[in-house]
Amino acid sequence: MALPQTYGTDHVYGLLDITQDFITIQSDGIDDSCGVDVKVLDALGRVCTVRKDDLHNALTFMGVLKPGGTKPQAGYTVTFDSVKYIVDTVSNTGENTGFRKFTVKATKYQQVVIA
């Protein structure tokens, strides 16, 4: 009798972008939402019309700080996975038993073209 075959199912693994020169990225995430989110209710209070527009892509990534490289600043832009975002906040934190961590939160707005 033939042995059963081993098999696997591939999945999407890891980070979107590991090319940032100022940190070793540990995690990332992108949350999409609509700036325009209008609902019209019918006479019974049920949603009968929806308008969603003005897509916002909210990016968060965190990593361990390197001595060199250029750290993003709030109000400026950062390029992540070949997409330019406007930096909302940066957070530079440390502890006495570990490496310094740097977190960037940034947003890409549908109607804003970043040069």
């Binding site: 890891g14 590991i18 070793t24 990225i25 540990q26 361990v64 038993t97 570990g98 490496f99 961590k101």
Partner: protein
């Protein structure tokens, strides 16, 4: 400078280099790095980088950064030394390890980020005083050249 030794060897050689600077404060005490099959005599201090693992903060990209468990064994003969003399040796070990800037300066390859005392256990067996003093060290290999 390229890495010539694995991280545990680097740690052992570096701590040995630091201890060797204080040989005069440990008269008659053998200093030994790592495991050995040599015939040993007491009093002896064995500097052993017991284990190394990638720095957890860096997850899947540790890039040559390590957390080490470094153990220092201090043995004295109960026939040749009093407990007080043995404990003076233990105290000397702790004093040398407590001087972190000195230890960092003696680091032979790469960089020692930080280190701290974890535990000190004392026992006696076969007419020997023995202490096992443990430290946690964080270090990195030298950068690629």
């Amino acid at each position: 400078m390229t890495t010539a030794l694995a991280i545990r060897s680097i740690a052992e050689q570096s701590v040995l280099a630091r201890f060797s600077q204080f040989a005069a404060d440990l008269p008659g005490v053998q200093l030994h790095a790592g495991q050995t099959d040599e015939i040993r005599s007491v009093p002896i201090i064995i500097l052993h980088a017991e284990s190394a693992r990638p720095a957890a903060d860096l997850g899947g990209f540790p890039s040559g950064n390590f957390e080490l468990t470094f153990k220092i064994y201090v043995y004295s003969s109960a026939d040749d030394s009093t407990l007080a003399e043995h404990r003076q040796r233990v105290e000397a070990v702790q004093a040398i390890m407590q001087d972190l800037p000195g230890l960092k300066a003696a680091w032979t390859q790469g960089q020692l980020y930080h280190g701290w005392f974890s535990s000190d256990e004392e026992g006696v067996a076969d007419r020997r005083w023995g202490n096992l003093i443990s430290y946690t060290l964080f270090a990195v290999y030298p950068a690629a050249s």
